[in-house]
């Protein structure tokens, strides 16, 4: 009852304020009139009655104020007043407002982004029911750690898990009748979905009961994303038969949206039972090989009441049984448990460490930003000390002034927080759909959730309080009478040592990062450097004839037909093939070689481990590799002809002993085969851009056949058209061929990934550092100018030169800037030496970079001191002295 009435009053007071006030005015007026009426009735004149009544009232405004103070919702009204006042204050100094909001946007945004990633990868449990009882069973510390027979034994013999599932990741050709393409798949044990306790979005999943020995469960489950993009949400796919590596498989169902397997980074397209592995890979042995540890991950669901430690002990007792039974096949690694999501400890350890470091760093950035904004705030408070003193002297309470100060800082930090959060959401969304490697479905699933919003809000509030605290003491201690009498004084003078050091550190970091921008230059240069091949105007066609069902003699014949067919396309200059293109992650093949004179072919006598490529005759022309001497391969270099090879210059120098006479010499392979060198090509980059000169050898395709080859097609035609033309001619030869066609320059994206990441990280750090330095110097310069404004005015009035005034006002800021830049430059030169290892062609003593750093720091100083300097010079001594 009372509550309802209060609520009603609150609504009325807030929403119909003017009406309520007018009502009160009229009520008091009517009171005064009636009171006067009484007096007139008592025999006094009307005007005299009115006068004495008003005297009795003692000020209508005063009564109105006391009524208002008692109203429900007065707190809101005061708050609203404060907010409006603060907004007016901020509007009056747009430079300060923009700097503060921008700083907070960057600092809070950085924290929100890092926290968003941390939250998605580490804090948030896997998107499956009861994720807390799900564990990864690890055996040793490798990428893959179990063999399939071991898994079967563990599953059967352990007593701690409800059930244990296992999977491997592989790639297959999926033929739905139109445009067969490569898909990434989880080959899982039949109980996989049941262990995870997830329900299908459509149709059904396969179960352990579907497995009846090898190749007995020709079923496939689609991931939601793959179904959405490749089947256009067609609900009738359930029951349809598709071909995986030419074998018929029935689509059973679609996994729920948001579920993409138990490894967060890896988005699988489809799920198939692992018992069909022979059909998928052609390998008959591996499922039964106890010594081959190739299971990618084992996940188990703990029984209720069993602790991870008990389960661990249980697993190790099973392990000791296995060791006894199969002493030859079992390793000595112990079994351990880990959280799922980041492939056990393999990825989660480094990821956790990296993200924690990043979180700490961004927290420090926010803290530094708060310190800087705090000194800006202190400068403002010093500017307004006369106003504040007057208000104190006129009876405003210190609480009231502090409340306004905090309102101002909260407004700034909330605005910064909102902007930072918005930016971070956009960034996280971009990050979620980003695929750094075109060939692999690797991504970072980091969609922001309520936790991220909450953290951003808390950070905004905390930083608002933090930087408003800085000038609090200044206000509390201010003695209004002294300030009004003497003008603002430098009572809080040189106690800024800590802040000075902080500022120098910030500037130094900024300079380091600016000088690390050599990385950007290095990256740009490495895009245009000589790789030993020419990625421009070249397309790569990734064809795996195994997935297309070819084997034996049919493979090379088919490959030759494909090469000839593409060669016939108008506008195609040359076509070659290679087993694995150079610079394609994760790395090229290598083989051991011996000099011709070596007779004892033991590993210790090996001459080198050159990179190994199997190429077709026209590969060198198609890839744009420069020819130095000798002849290229022909289609006659087949199994009936003597073994020949083409080598690069480094191979000739290192293994053959001579570059000019390399052609015609011999070397030996591990099996003792003598190979004659028939040609010599230039050196190149084979695995990464920063490697030194490495030996490489090329063998004719027909002498060392491979069913998986990449065709290199050189043509100046439009890539899109060319890809379509190639697709159609290859489909004419075999409609079920699995093809992936991409320009070579796109394919190189994965290789450049580390240097790109380094550059992006440096860029972000650089922006943060620059921002901190600007706000830091700005705050300090503004503060010192406003503190000494009167002194500067007097100096100007006495005829001081502009230069001297500037020196007095900004000398300290400039000195700090110079020290910081100097330190930063030296450190930067050291750091770039390190960077040169990551980023190809990043030389620290790049003159352009040195000039750039100096210019950048100058610009920074100019921007940060511009406004204070203008103020110092614009002092009008007359006005200033009159005011004081």
């Amino acid at each position: 009852m009372q509550f309802l009435s209060r609520l009603e009053s609150l609504m009325r007071n807030l929403l119909r304020k003017h009406e309520v006030d007018a009502d009160l005015e009229e009520e008091l007026e009517s009171y005064a009139t009636m009171r006067a009426d009484e007096r007139v009735a008592g025999g006094i004149s009307r005007s005299e009655a009115r006068r004495s009544t008003l005297a009795e009232l003692g000020g209508i405004e005063h009564i109105k104020q006391s009524v208002r103070d008692g109203r429900t919702g007065i707190t809101f009204e005061l708050l609203w007043q404060d907010v409006r006042f603060a907004l007016r204050q901020l509007r009056r100094s747009p430079g300060f407002t923009i700097t503060a909001v921008l700083t907070l946007t960057l600092a809070i945004g950085a924290n929100a982004v890092v926290f968003g990633v941390l939250n998605a990868l580490i804090l948030r449990p896997l998107n499956v029911p009861q994720a807390e009882s799900l564990f990864v069973v690890q055996h040793g510390s490798g990428v893959a750690s179990h063999s399939y027979p071991d898994y079967l034994d563990l599953r059967q013999r352990n007593r701690s898990f409800d059930d244990v599932a296992v999977f491997v990741i592989s790639q297959s050709g999926l033929d739905t009748g139109i445009d067969p393409s490569n898909v990434w798949e989880y080959e899982t044990s039949g109980n996989y979905f049941d262990v995870l306790r997830i329900q299908p979005y459509l149709g059904r999943f396969f179960h352990a009961s579907d497995e009846h020995g090898p190749n007995s469960a020709p079923y496939v489950v689609l991931s939601y994303a793959y179904w959405h993009t490749h089947f256009q949400d067609d609900r009738t796919v359930v029951g349809r038969v598709v071909r995986l590596n030419r074998h018929p498989f029935t689509i059973l169902g679609v996994a729920p949206p948001g579920f993409q397997g138990t490894v967060l980074f890896f988005a699988s397209d489809i799920f198939v039972p692992i018992v069909d592995h022979e059909q998928l890979s052609g390998d008959k042995m591996i499922l039964n090989a106890r010594g081959t540890r190739w299971m990618f991950e084992m996940v188990g669901r703990l029984r209720p009441g069993v602790t991870p430690a008990q389960a661990n002990a249980d697993l190790n007792s099973v392990d000791s049984y296995l060791k006894k039974s199969y002493p030859r096949d079992e390793s000595n690694d112990p079994y351990t448990l880990a959280r799922p999501g980041l492939h056990g400890d393999y990825l989660s350890g480094p990821t956790r460490a990296f993200l924690t470091g990043l979180m700490l760093l961004s927290g420090l950035i926010l803290l530094a930003a708060c310190a800087n904004l705090g000194s800006l705030f202190a400068a403002r408070a010093a500017d307004r000390s006369r106003e504040l003193a007057l208000r104190l002297a006129l009876g405003s309470s210190r609480n009231c002034i502090l409340r306004q100060l905090f309102t101002e800082s909260m407004l700034l930090s909330l605005a910064g927080g909102a902007a930072g959060l918005t930016a971070s959401i956009l960034l996280l969304r971009r990050l979620s759909v980003w695929q750094p490697f075109p060939r692999f479905p690797l991504h970072v699933p980091v969609s922001p959730d309520a936790n991220v919003y909450l953290v951003a809000l808390v950070l905004a509030l905390v930083s608002g309080v933090l930087f408003a605290i800085v000038p609090v003491r200044q206000i509390l201690r201010a003695n209004p009478y002294e300030i009004v009498k003497a003008g603002s004084t430098g009572a809080f003078g040189r106690r800024f040592i800590v802040r000075d050091v902080l500022l120098v550190v910030q500037i130094a970091i900024c300079a380091v990062v600016t000088s690390s921008m050599v990385a950007v230059r290095g990256l740009m240069r490495s895009m245009h450097s000589n790789f030993g091949f020419e990625p421009q105007n070249a397309m790569l066609v990734d064809t795996d004839l195994t997935t297309a069902g070819y084997s034996g003699e049919r493979v090379p014949a088919m490959q030759r037909r494909m090469i000839d067919a593409i060669q016939a396309i108008p506008g195609v200059d040359s076509v070659g093939s290679v087993n694995y293109p150079p610079l394609e992650p994760p790395g090229s093949w290598q083989g051991t070689v011996y000099t011709d004179t070596t007779t004892d072919l033991s590993p210790s006598n090996a001459a080198a481990d050159p990179y190994w490529f199997n190429v077709s005759p026209d590969y060198f022309r198609a890839s744009g590799t420069s020819w130095l001497a000798g002849r290229a391969f022909t289609w006659h270099d087949d199994t009936n002809a003597p073994r020949v090879a083409v080598v690069n210059r480094e191979f000739a120098r290192k293994i053959l002993g001579s570059v000019p006479d390399a052609v015609g010499r011999h070397f030996k392979l591990r099996d003792g085969t003598r190979v004659r060198v028939v040609g010599l090509v230039e050196d190149g980059k084979y695995v990464n851009l920063t490697e030194g000169q490495r030996p490489a050898m090329f063998f004719p395709l027909l002498q060392s056949p491979a069913s998986w080859i990449w065709m290199v097609v050189r043509s100046s035609r439009d890539p899109q058209q060319l890809a379509a033309a190639m697709r159609s001619v290859l489909r004419n030869i075999d409609p079920a061929m699995v093809l992936a066609i991409r320009p070579w320059s796109t394919e190189l994206g994965g290789t450049l990934f580390p240097s790109r990441m380094a550059t992006v990280a440096l860029g972000v750090l650089g922006i943060m550092g620059a921002m901190l330095s600007i706000t830091g110097i700005f705050g300090m310069a503004a503060y010192s100018v406003s503190k000494r404004l009167r002194e500067l005015g007097i100096r100007l009035a006495l005829g001081a030169k502009r230069k001297e005034v500037l020196q007095a006002a900004l000398g300290r800021a400039v000195k700090l800037l110079a020290i910081g830049s100097g330190i930063g430059l030296v450190l930067g030169l050291l750091a770039t030496k390190v960077l040169a290892f990551i980023v190809y062609q990043a030389t620290p003593r790049d003159p352009l970079v040195l000039v750039g750093v100096v210019l950048a720091m100058l610009l920074l100083g100019l921007v940060a001191t511009w406004i204070p300097a203008q103020r110092a010079l614009g002092v009008n001594p007359l006005i200033l002295l009159r005011e004081e």
């Binding site: 009852m1 009372q2 309802l4 009435s5 209060r6 009053s9 009502d23 009160l24 009229e26 009520e27 008091l28 009517s30 009171y31 009139t33 009636m34 009171r35 009426d37 009484e38 009795e56 009232l57 003692g58 005063h62 009564i63 006391s66 009524v67 103070d69 008692g70 109203r71 429900t72």
Partner: protein, 110 residues
């Protein structure tokens, strides 16, 4: 007049206002006269305390108000007790009796 002005205890004013409205609706001036009358002139409520109190009691839901005509045909704002106000009056009167009894007992003690 002013010599007999007694400082009103916090809460006393509320009680007096509620009591003065027990017999019927009154405007602000009426309330002030009524209080003077029922306290035999001991309490004179000044507008500076009267109006904040009236508005506070109204927001608490113990009074309701409406615009009407005064005895001299002036437009005036009238207050009347609500159901909750009557309950509150009973409650506060009881409290006051207790305090008064305790106080007079205390003062009589030697």
């Amino acid at each position: 007049m002013s010599s007999s002005q007694t400082n009103l205890l916090q809460g006393t004013l509320d009680l007096l206002i509620l009591k003065s409205l027990k017999t019927g609706e009154l405007h602000g001036l009426g309330v002030s006269h009524r209080i003077e009358q029922i306290t035999r002139g001991a309490f004179q409520v000044k507008p500076g305390s009267l109006f904040p109190a009236l508005h506070r009691l109204e927001e608490a839901g113990w009074l309701s108000s409406f615009w009407g005509e005064s005895e001299n045909n002036r437009r005036a704002r009238f207050y009347r007790l609500t159901k909750g106000g009557e309950r509150q009056l009973g409650h506060e009167a009881e409290e006051w009796q207790k305090i008064a009894a305790a106080m007079s007992h205390a003062l009589k003690a030697t």
